[in-house]
Amino acid sequence: MELRIDPSTVDRCRALARAIVSPVSDFIAAHSTVAVERSVLRLLGVDGVGADEIPVPNLILDGLSAQDRSRGVAVAFGRGLAETGLAPAALGAAIAAGTVRLADFADVPEAAARGVLAPFVAASLARIRERRAEREERLERLPQLPPPLLYVIVASGNIYEDRTAAVAAAEAGAQIIAVIRSTGQSLLDFVPFGPTTEGFGGTYATQENFRIMREALDEAGEREGRYIMLTNYASGLCMPEIATMAAIERLDMLLNDSMYGILFRDINMKRTFVDQHFSRMLNAYSGIIINTGEDNYLTTADAVEQAPAVLASQFINEAFAHRAGMPDRQIGLGDAYEISPDLEDGFLYQVAQAQLTRQIFPNAPLKYMPPTKHMTGDIFKGHLIDAMFNLTSVMTKQTIHLCGMLTEAIHTPFLGDRVLAIENAQYVMNTARHFGDEIQIKPDGIIERRAQGVLTGCDALLERVAEIGLMSAIEAALFADVKRPPDGGRGFDGVFERAPEYWNPFEDALQGATV
């Protein structure tokens, strides 16, 4: 199956996306955020919470002067290490306990700070490389089934029930487990701590939850003879911190979109741009596949109309990811099956879009999201819409396949719902395994013309964005009909200009690192 699309239009779109991202990258290079700095601390080994359950990295950042902050937390913290002789974790605890104040070490020479940090930085990176090697070893030993990789979510709000659900799903055939975050975690400017037993609509992304789940899935993987991947959400106010935790706990994927927070969570755009960049550098290094969030365009507006915006966003996400050093094989661009089930030939449009994405991004592990918006309490009909989605996915060779739940409109999935969803995908994908290979698309037919139209629309959109610049384009509501001012939205106060002497030891190490 192959669509005839104009390669020069594709090239032009890619070039436009690069041009769009370029000035934003300059901005990024000149700024940092509290979340980036907190993740530097976490990388160094700082963890835990202080009074009022405030995480130690937050306490440390909150305690920095604006000037210290603008130089990067590393130097100030390094001074403390050099002076106290404590390990990073202990120093963090001491600061949290109020027994030590970083401000007191302002006089320690910068060189000393840098020197004392070096081994911790090296050890931290070595640890990440180790986790990465561990993943590779396991994948070698416990190979996954061929794609589409069945991906399901757990979201009970209790990590222990989530674990039960995840292990059951793995046994039923799931290859990737996502733990959905508790409602609105992306708006928290800190990462909660410890195991969660009471979340709303999901379970907090915490390092302990990551660990509990990783351990359970490793066991399940050994039992099943297949490595089970674990994923969570980065996008939000804590992208780099979650990327850090994920690297350490060997998550395999992360939701990480360069614009999701801006458009769909009203997070400040500058904050998001800076955060996504550092988080993706970490993701790249830790071998984590990112999943972008283009599905959100489709759930909040008309899916037929939004198709060019989805493609444009994929190009932009790709360009940002390349900037952060990600290879194509780690860039899981998103798409979703959200066209109304009542539209005549809607399936044809879906096939067109899915195949278009597949051809334009041949090496990307595409992430295909299920129908959600048009799902209703009619679980029987819902199961069928999911089946057509499953068929489209196998026909167009999507890589990461989020299984749709027949109860999507009702509740976060029950254990039994998840099994039915997996069985749906298994049945459809097996009975139609090579269908995509065995058919050709009619030249100039409905499907091909739709795909060409989407590409043309994307080209036009990117051209406009390139003209006025990405930040202004977002301000002009060119994406998802949502209007966001450059200095509005949450988390803007956490963005700051880098002082000339700004230093982030991890950024330096990661820049140009190849694994």
Partner: protein, 246 residues
């Protein structure tokens, strides 16, 4: 005869389909446990038509059975909030006639709920399924506060802008968060002495008009609501109250 019972393929056969998961490894005993369990629920003629292992220590069942329960349909009270059917133009004319001024209306997703698509469908110009939203009505001045609006902020806004009608949306229902938030809003309005001065409406996919009245709301709108249904209800309710212009 207003007593009704589920209908499978014959009047009063009481046939119901069930499915559920039991936390036991599958075995013939698990099937039997499912059968007895459904029996304990009061069903007869229990047929476990599917029972199978879905994972370690979990089995899934599909069951058909008959219930002896019935409902006297004549006794069901579920007054509809949708009975004042009017088109946009009719509403505009009606409001002009009966109130002679614009109705001020504010909507929000309250609590931590960020599902704005539903309330937007009611308020935004564009509307829902070809039915225009309230912003397009001449007879309404609308304020869409958006998502995750604390109940306190919503009430404060209502006070400051002297709104006639409040539209609160809740889509997330887990752990009863919808009922909690709706209740908090109604109570705060009461406490502030505002309750009687506004038309208070809730909505969301799990909302029913009955539930709304139990929570002290004037009306509740569920899945598939059209903007004009809400507009008509607000207009008629306000007209009936003949509230003097503030």
């Amino acid at each position: 005869m207003s007593r009704i019972r589920p209908y499978g393929d014959a009047t009063d056969d009481g046939k119901v389909q069930l499915s559920f998961t039991l936390p036991v490894e599958w075995s013939e005993a698990a099937d039997e446990a499912a059968r007895q369990l459904v029996g304990k629920m009061g069903f007869t003629d229990v047929q476990v038509v599917e029972g199978r292992r879905i994972a370690k220590d979990f089995s899934f069942f599909v069951v058909y059975a008959s219930t002896a329960q019935s409902i006297d349909f004549a006794t069901i009270k579920a007054p509809s909030a949708k009975e004042h059917a009017m088109s946009m133009d009719e509403v505009d004319a009606y409001v002009q006639e009966s109130l002679g001024r614009k109705i001020r209306i504010a909507g929000a997703c309250i609590g931590t709920d960020a599902h704005t698509v539903g309330i937007d469908a009611i308020l935004n110009m564009k509307g829902y399924k070809g039915d225009y939203g309230l912003e397009r009505y001449h007879s309404f001045e609308t304020f869409n506060l958006g998502s995750q609006i604390a109940v306190e902020d919503f009430v404060k806004f209502a006070k400051e802008h002297e709104v006639d009608a409040l539209l609160a949306s809740q889509v997330v229902t887990q752990k009863g968060s919808d009922v909690k938030n709706f209740t908090a809003l109604a109570e705060l309005l009461e406490a502030e002495g505002l309750r009687d001065r506004v038309v208070l409406i809730c909505g969301g996919p799990r909302v029913t008009n009955l539930m709304a009245s139990e929570l002290g709301y004037d009306a509740g709108f569920g899945r598939g609501t059209l903007p004009s249904e809400v507009a008509a209800f607000v207009a008629v309710t306000l007209a009936n109250r003949r509230v003097a212009t503030h």
